[in-house]
Assembly symmetry: C2
Homo-oligomer: 221 residues x 2
């Protein structure tokens, strides 16, 4: 086992570009160990996590090697410390300012989801073209006209734009957001956004997930 | 080209178990061609779609071969027909009854997202344990106590449960839903749900997507 080298290479690496599958699994581990922590369980092994989550134990050990935590032989990881390390590592403790672009339907829904702030996402404002929405607040969050984005950005300095506009406006609104200094776009539209390389684009394709459910239900009857 | 065989094998296949990547891409095509249709564009080639969406043209042709539509040489696909075929094929035209389990935060948000019904998802009821929520309605959708699920299911006969409960209740609530005849679980919790093979589980890991955004932003500065 020359895990040591890997550990050294990847310690203090909040800024390491983690593999996407690892980033997908780490929140599963966090969910599970948070549950254990609430039940006052003190230690957990990768074998235990493996049984519960159906992920290979060696994969779990590898994923967790990115973190600044070491399991003890025969005892496993300190649960409380693991919760803390995972939360920090995933960026859920830090506050990230975000704006919602498109404050109808899904956009409005996300503005009303208080759960996101527990994961470090602080929605500070919404933007829309609909005169019925502009000037209102949703759960205390103000909604402005989209033409105010540049000006408001100076005030809020948000780094993330949550894109929930109708698909035909996706690209144009993404461009506007980027021009206003947005660094990452969380794209909920089914449109493939094009952006410069230094802009982070993450797609959450809820309609594709629906299509997947429908298809799988159809074939499993 | 022996595309013919493939076409024959896969025609009339609303019930074919499609590859997940194909199911992820089809909604992108739909979004794009819907836009073209709104602009009264009549034909589109896979090459054109390819340029717009950064997907290989041969991959697009292959994905679209699952559908009951054929492109014409040098002209391409009929845009209007492609919109209709994709919408039907993805199940967005059909009505699918769904219940939300966990009507706080994200659950409430999804109940208020009228956009989902345009994609065939009809949320008919919410369920929760919170006495402040039970007995209320959200956008006209009633919220019941979770103990009423079995009884209400007889009335609603929903096939899909949208799971938005706190992580420590995920598995138990999934079990309850399955016992009540739910066929598919759209899991928004970070917990890995275990279920019998004939139950469809689809995970939408929005917190994992947040972790991905945070990580990528950190490494790109």
């Amino acid at each position: 086992m020359n895990n040591k080298t890997e550990m050294n290479e990847t310690k203090n690496t909040q800024r390491t570009m983690l593999p996407e599958p690892t980033l997908r699994r780490l929140p599963w581990y966090l969910a599970y160990v948070t549950m254990l922590d609430n039940l006052h369980v003190e230690h957990v092994s990768s074998t235990q996590i493996s049984k519960e989550l159906n992920v290979d134990a060696s994969q779990i050990a590898k994923d967790l090697s990115f973190l600044n935590i070491k399991g003890k032989t025969r005892i496993g990881y300190d649960v409380h410390k693991l919760v803390k390390e995972l939360t920090d590592f995933l960026g859920f403790k830090k506050k990230h300012n975000a704006v919602v672009i498109g404050a109808g339907n899904l956009g409005a829904a996300l503005m009303q989801d208080k759960g996101l702030s527990q994961y470090g996402l602080d929605i500070v404002a919404g933007f829309d073209v609909n005169p019925d929405l502009v000037g209102t607040t949703m759960c205390g969050i103000p909604v402005y006209g989209i033409d105010e984005l540049a000006q408001r950005q100076q005030e809020y300095n948000a780094s993330i734009a949550i894109l929930t506009v109708p698909v035909e406006h996706s690209q144009q609104m993404a461009n506007t957001a980027i021009d206003c200094g947005i660094k990452a776009i969380w794209n909920f539209t089914p449109f493939r956004i094009k952006a410069p390389d230094d802009i982070v684009i993450t797609n959450t394709s809820i309609y594709a997930h629906l299509a997947l459910i429908y298809n799988r239900m159809g074939t499993r009857k």
